[in-house]
């Protein structure tokens, strides 16, 4: 067992445990905090995969902005827990069996079909330099310039949409 493999398995265990914790928590605040742990471990995976820029974007945008927004809305609505209502009866076993089918399909594809022996290239000194970052920026502003600009319009539309949706209408209390 190399250090890389041990690191992978420990982090994978943390990521899956945090995801399951999010799934089963009754309190929405705990779910959000479990999801922050999951995002942080995925950011470490990005570092191991030699993508430091994406790792930092993951921490600032996902674990920072998005999850703070989630926590803010949960506390604003006071909706940590749902009032006990009618329980889903047949959906739960059905969903779990469908999820098992999905995992089995993925396992079949990975084990039986993919004959890939490709291994992850560990990050070197060069992946964490400014030059590597510059290369990413150059690709973003040359080959992917149009999608980049469209993304800015998308963010503007989302901002306007969020304001319109939560705006108090005239005559409303």
């Amino acid at each position: 067992m190399s250090v890389d493999l041990i690191l992978f398995f420990v982090l994978a265990l943390v990521a899956v445990a945090a995801a399951i914790g999010m799934l089963v928590s009754q309190n929405a605040i705990y779910s959000a905090l479990f999801l922050v742990i999951n995002f942080a471990t995925v950011a470490v995976f990005y570092l191991l995969l030699g993508a430091p820029f994406i790792a930092m974007a993951q921490i600032t945008v996902y674990a920072g902005a998005i999850m703070v927004l989630f926590l803010f809305v949960i506390m604003l609505l006071g909706a940590e827990k749902l009032a006990p209502g009618k329980v889903l009866r047949y959906q739960r076993p059905l969903a779990i069996s469908l999820a098992i089918v999905l995992v089995a399909e993925a396992a079949y594809l990975l084990i039986a079909r993919v004959q890939s022996t490709a291994a992850i290239v560990p990050p070197t000194e060069a992946t964490n330099t400014v030059d590597a970052m510059r290369e990413l920026g150059m690709a973003l502003f040359s080959d992917y310039l149009l999608p980049f600009e469209v993304t800015s319009i998308l963010l503007l539309v989302a901002m306007v949409g969020a304001i319109v949706l939560t705006k108090r209408e005239k005559g409303e209390q």
């Binding site: 067992m1 190399s2 890389d4 493999l5 992978f8 990521a15 899956v16 995801a19 399951i20 999010m22 799934l23 779910s31 959000a32 999801l35 999951n38 995925v42 995976f45 990005y46 995969l49 030699g50 993508a51 820029f53 994406i54 945008v61 996902y62 902005a65 927004l69 989630f70 809305v73 609505l77 909706a79 749902l82 209502g85 009618k86 889903l88 959906q91 739960r92 779990i96 999820a99 999905l102 995992v103 993925a106 990975l110 993919v114 022996t117 490709a118 291994a119 992850i120 290239v121 990413l136 973003l140 992917y144 993304t151 963010l155 989302a158 901002m159 969020a162 304001i163 949706l165 939560t166």
Partner: protein, 102 residues
Amino acid sequence: MGPVPVTYYIALSAILFTIGALGVLIRRNALIIFMSVELMLNSANLAFVAFANTYQQLNGQIIVFFVIAVAAAEVAVGLALIVAIFKTKHSIDVDQMSSLKG
């Protein structure tokens, strides 16, 4: 046994995606369903970065950058919708959102 095979990362991505799909199917709280969608987006990102590393291409990382930007926009609008629904229904239970009449 030296470096980590790329299939391990894809398997982890598949497991995380399934947990997210399960969350969408079995939870009734709209906020937790939304978090599960974020988890699924995130697992897809992990697969993208793993393949970007295997083929030593930057394209995968750039796609992930765009997915993160789209996720941020989606969260802003989605949470605004949840707040608007809470104002009229006083609940975020998805079972209560069954009628089209306000």
